[in-house]
Assembly symmetry: C2
Homo-oligomer: 227 residues x 2
DNA sequence: CACAATATTTAGGCTTATCAAAAATTATTT
DNA sequence: AAATAATTTTTGATAAGCCTAAATATTGTG
């Protein structure tokens, strides 16, 4: 039988931590109650309740009306969940042939499985990959999350620049399916032909073959390195 | 985001169904409240509450004070969970090199992951094995659970008979570790030298090498075929 | 058959996670 | 600086699962 230790978190608590982490990433930004509520599609009142609880468990620094920050413990816990999520996503794509747009919801469940040994063994089985299928770095066992420093957001690129796609920072199936359709994947090369000053959309060439216009919303989600 | 459909079961409901299934297996025996309570280490009053709920969800036939039986729907649901449990156990042993005594608790968590496609893909990835690491049959996608008809319980064997082990019907780590220690695993050959009438213990030879006495409690957990 | 033992259910409460509505605090605007 | 808007918290309720103690039903025994 499974024994629950004192500092074990419920599935809900884990999801709150994960949300706070992603809203505060990468600069440990202070996060507000409404923001969390929106992100979890939950009532702000529920968030306040949970924040009190997480504060007593020393997972967050919390001052009424002022917002929250993760403590070291809370952040470690959140990163551990992110690690599990990304390792499972890699497994699903690499071993079970899922496409990158299918894995998020399943990994969302698998990330809560509690067995450090399982994750160690699984990660070894996968050959210790550094990135998940969307190009996001997989934190190491010590909770260190290393981003590629040369990564640039497509949004901030200029006319005539060329980047090789390294990361998509959105798990939504619709976006990922659209990108697949227009032949954008990790490793694709995007060359910027024109930037529209009014709506920040970009006319680009994908892999030297496809001529297309990307909206600002989409360029914000794509990262790459100059090439 | 994950959408909860009307007939979706909670983790707790799934565990009740699984328990009722295993207590009623293989002859659809009627199961009592206390029995379920003991099995789940829960108060009988809690069981009554849950039985009412499962009755309303048409998962069980339930008459007050008389005990319960799974309906077709309930049984299908239970078998699906068993299927997932056994497939995950196989994965853990075959791909991640866990030993047969380590997998139960992890599979207990993994069995609740909700993604039929995941299970289909995983089962294919494993090469569609017919049995789990303890020799239990893996139900097929249609919910058909086929036991090996030649299987005999070691308990009911007689002096001088010899069986090849095909199944252990207990997930407890301590039992499985003990069996490993005395070199009993799937495929081991057990020859019965003597049966003690008083306590039903057996003196046996394992794999033609090890001479040992097995208690009745243990012989009840071991199944095999004559050889 | 009646009485005791056992099994099951009911009643009343607790905790976790949620919500809506009202109150309090902080931020923004005139 | 006062009024208004936005955000956050408090208050009071609800549902799921669980508990203990008390009541009721069933089963077993003399």
């Amino acid at each position: 039988m499974y024994i629950k230790s004192i500092d074990m978190l419920s599935l809900t608590e884990e999801n709150y931590l994960k949300t706070i982490f992603s809203l505060s990433y990468p600069n440990d930004t202070v996060v507000g109650t409404n923001e969390i509520a929106k992100s979890l599609t939950v009532n702000p009142a529920s968030v306040t309740d949970m924040l009190k609880k997480l504060y007593h468990k020393e997972m967050i620094d919390y001052i009424k009306y002022q917002g929250v920050k993760l403590t070291k413990i809370g952040k470690d816990k959140a990163i551990d969940i992110v690690r599990k999520h990304r390792i499972w996503e890699y497994f699903l794509v690499d071993k079970l042939n899922f496409s990158w747009d299918e894995v998020h919801d399943i990994a969302e469940q698998l990330e809560h499985i509690d067995s450090p040994l399982l994750i160690t063994r699984l990660y070894d089985f996968l050959g210790n990959p550094p990135f998940d299928p969307h190009g996001e770095p997989i934190p190491n066992e010590a909770g260190v999350l290393t981003e590629i420093s040369e990564n640039i957001n497509l949004e901030s690129c200029l006319k005539q620049q060329k980047i090789k796609v390294t990361k998509i920072i959105d798990d939504s199936a619709t976006l990922l399916q659209y990108l697949t359709k227009i032949h954008i994947g990790l490793g694709s090369v995007i060359e910027i032909l024109e930037v529209n000053d009014y709506d920040k959309s970009m006319e680009v060439i994908i892999n030297n073959e496809k001529n297309i216009i990307l909206s600002w919303e989409i360029t914000k989600k794509i990262y790459g390195i100059y090439c």
